[in-house]
Point group: C2
Chain length 195, copies 2
Amino acid sequence: MEKDSRSRLLEAAIPLFAEKGFNAVSIRELSEKAGANSALISYYFGNKEGLYTAVLDFQFSRITTAVSNSHSLSPIERIRYYGKNAILIHQQCPHLMRYIQREVANPSVGFETVVSRHIASAYHFLHAAIANGIETGDFRSDLDPDYAALSLAGIINFYFMTKPLVSTFLPPAKNLDHAYIMQALEIYLNGVINK
Amino acid sequence: MEKDSRSRLLEAAIPLFAEKGFNAVSIRELSEKAGANSALISYYFGNKEGLYTAVLDFQFSRITTAVSNSHSLSPIERIRYYGKNAILIHQQCPHLMRYIQREVANPSVGFETVVSRHIASAYHFLHAAIANGIETGDFRSDLDPDYAALSLAGIINFYFMTKPLVSTFLPPAKNLDHAYIMQALEIYLNGVINK
DNA sequence: GTCTATATTGCGATAGAC
DNA sequence: GTCTATCGCAATATAGAC
């Protein structure tokens, strides 16, 4: 059973905008791939930009749901949880990282209302985990929770951001994501844990 | 004394392409800002794409020169050198990071010939520093130099990539770049040094 | 809700004068 | 080396039939 035109347009837009960017995708190409008429973009989303914002909304909501429901974990467990979850998210939403990159490099109209909020919720998750770890004495007391949170975000997310490029000069591995994240978490945790 | 039209076009293009992306900049806007005629873009660079590639070439060459002439440094010193240098590069070339992001998210025709090579040279610098540190016993022997190099690149560069966004929820500091990089290097070095 | 047809605008590129 | 003028094309958006 085929979905309705609105859904088909939205789903066709996800990989197209991700791979080519907003300007490089025409509503003709979009509607053709969706098997719908190009006039329906204006009908359902107002205009091309409205469709893009709808895609953003759909993609970024995945981030906030990912860092929810992880209370009752220890600081160290929450760090590991973040790393494992990153692998999962980018497997399930293979286009999300492109949208993050595009929005950071060149914010669209939906940046403030959707992008910024979801990124902030991920950041606050990390910040809380580290601040908590400093309190409990698990982590070094000379850490700044803001910088340490950003360091962790960097060591994990830079890999996914640059994966298309970086995997060309990385030795092949059967499970590259897992191998990298395990090593990265090891380095990071070793760097922040109180000894 | 004003520069020639070719130089003015090239220099006007750098911030424009960086901020808006290739497609969102018209040759009319470009030539207007450069104080030159739009027909000169074809005359000097073949077409708009040729101008973009010339800009890429100019921007990315900064990376390779940055990691040259740093022999005779110890592994740990080379790690710190990389961090300090990153601050310097992004101060001197404030648009470079945008080009890196754009090229990673959406490679242009100049990707293989210019982008890929310069990024690789930075990567090899880090890889060599870490492999050397493992040999000398400065760094832990269970490190994989590939993953460890990428971890360092991530902890440093993610900050610069996301700075426009992330500095909105980071507490203000008199020298944010320096403060972050010092903390990040501390975490990283603590994580890789043999104890 | 979906279609065709079209209005309108702006683009990149170039021919040819100077 | 620089300019004007313009060609040809592709883009988004919409009016109006069904």
